[in-house]
Amino acid sequence: MRHWLLALLLCVSLTGCEINQSTIPFFGPSVVEQERPVVNIPLALRQRNWVGNQREGSCVHATMISLMRWQGRMNLANHWRQTYGNGEWPDGLSAKFDREKVRYAYTEKGDVKFIEWACRTRRGCGITVMGGAHMVALVHLDAKWAGLLDNNNVSKIKWVPREMLIAEWKASYGWAVTPVYTPAAPLPQ
C-alpha cells in the first residue's frame, strides 16, 4: 500500500513541470515616465499668431490650428488657416465650427473639470488669459503645474503653477475650447 501511495505522489508531483512562458504574468515597467507636456505639439506644427485682414490678432484661430494638427486634422488646420482670422468670441467660433462640421467641446463657465478633461485625454484646449484679450493653448495640467503654449512665442512652453493658471483663466471669462479628435500617440516607453 505504501508503495502505491509513493508512486502516486511521484506521478502527481511530476505533472506540470513544463514551463509555459506565456502564463508568466507580465511585469512591465512599474513606473512610466509621462511625457511633459502631455500635449507635446511638435515645434513645426505650432501655429504662430498672425494679423488678420481687420488688423486684429488671430490668437484663437492659431490655437485651434495647433490643436487640430496635434489631433491629426492637417487638412482642416490648413483650411482654417486660409479661411479664418482676426479676433474671435465663443459664439463666433461655435458658429464657424458648426458650419465646418468640426467636432468640438467648450465651456464658458470656467469649469476646471473641462480643462482637466482636455489634458487628461491628451487633447489640450485653448483657454482665455489676460482678462479675455488673448488665448493660449493649455498643453499640460497636473496637480502642481500648467503648461501653456503661447501663439505669440511658440518656441517654448511656459510653466505656471496650477492655481495661478486657474485664477487667471477664471478672471478672463473662463472660456476654454478644443476640437475633439484623435490625439497623437504618446512617445513609446
Binding site: H3, W4, A7, L8, C11, V12, T15, N20, S22, T23, I24, P25, F26, G28, P29, V32, Q34, E35, N40, P42, L43, A44, L45, R69, G72, R73, M74, N75, L76, S94, R103, Y104, A105, Y106, T107, E108, F114, W117, R120, T121, R122, V180, Y181, T182, P183, A184, A185, P186, L187, P188, Q189
Partner: protein
C-alpha cells in the same frame, strides 16, 4: 375695454422677463455635454511612406478586416506618413523600419510593434500578432493556432464597404466618441475548455490507473 387693455399691458410686462430668461438660458447652454472620458484608450499607429504599397495595404486592412476594424474603433488610431512633421518629430527616431504597426497602452508603453518584413502578410495574422501582444500584457495564454478557427463557428461577419480612394491626403474619418479603455480582444477559446479541477482530476486518475497497471505487470508475477 380699458380693463382688457390694462390686463394685456400687465401680461406683457410680466411675461417679457420670462422670455428673456428662457432665451438667455438657451444661449448659455453647452453645446457639447458628453465629453468622452477616453483617457484609458490605447493607441494604434500605422507608420509608413504614403506611396508604399505595403503601407496602403495595411491601412486597408484596418477598414476591411472585421477584427482589425473593431480594434481600430476601440483605440486612438493614427495613420502617420513619413512626409509629415508628426513623423519627423515623434516617430522617425523610434521606428525600426517601415511600415510599422505599433500598439501602445494609454501610458505609451509599447504592447506590440512590428516593422517591414516582420509584419504578418495577412490581416488575420496581424490581428493575431497584436492579440498575442495584448494577451502577454494581460497574462493570458495565447490561443493555439488550431483553435483559432473555433472563434467564429457561425457565419462570419461580412467586411464592410472598402475605404475610399487611395489618396492619403484627406483627413481620416473621425473616430467614434466613447468612454474607451483598453481594447477588448476576443478570447473565446477559454470558454471551450473544461474546468481546471476536472482536468486535474482526470490527470490524477489516469496517472494512478497507469501506475496501477504497470505495478501489477511488474510485481504481480513475483
Amino acid at each position: 375695454m380699458k380693463r382688457l387693455l390694462l390686463a394685456l399691458c400687465a401680461l406683457c410686462l410680466f411675461a417679457a422677463p420670462c422670455f428673456a430668461d428662457a432665451t438667455y438660458g438657451v444661449l448659455a447652454e453647452e453645446r457639447v455635454i458628453n465629453l468622452p472620458n477616453d483617457q484609458g484608450k490605447w493607441y494604434v499607429s500605422v507608420v509608413g511612406n504614403a506611396q508604399d504599397a505595403q503601407y496602403q495595404t495595411i491601412l486597408k486592412w484596418f477598414n476591411t478586416n472585421p477584427s482589425l476594424r473593431k480594434l481600430k474603433n476601440q483605440v486612438h488610431f493614427n495613420a502617420v506618413t513619413t512626409d509629415t512633421m508628426i513623423y519627423r518629430d515623434r516617430y522617425s527616431m523610434n521606428v525600426k523600419g517601415l511600415p510599422t504597426v505599433r500598439m501602445q497602452n494609454n501610458q505609451g508603453v509599447v504592447i506590440y510593434e512590428a516593422a517591414g518584413k516582420n509584419l504578418p502578410f495577412t490581416p488575420e495574422g496581424l490581428y493575431a500578432a497584436m492579440a498575442d501582444g495584448f494577451n502577454k500584457v494581460q497574462g493570458i495564454r495565447p490561443i493555439l493556432p488550431w483553435r483559432r478557427n473555433h472563434v467564429c463557428p457561425g457565419p462570419c461577419p461580412q467586411p464592410g464597404p472598402g475605404p475610399g480612394p487611395d489618396d492619403p491626403t484627406p483627413d481620416p474619418e473621425p473616430q467614434p466618441i466613447d468612454d474607451g479603455n483598453a481594447p477588448v480582444i476576443d478570447q473565446p477559446v477559454e470558454a471551450g475548455l473544461p474546468p481546471l479541477w476536472l482536468m486535474l482530476l482526470v490527470l490524477i486518475v489516469s496517472a494512478g490507473a497507469g501506475v496501477a497497471v504497470q505495478w501489477k505487470e511488474t510485481y504481480a508475477k513475483k
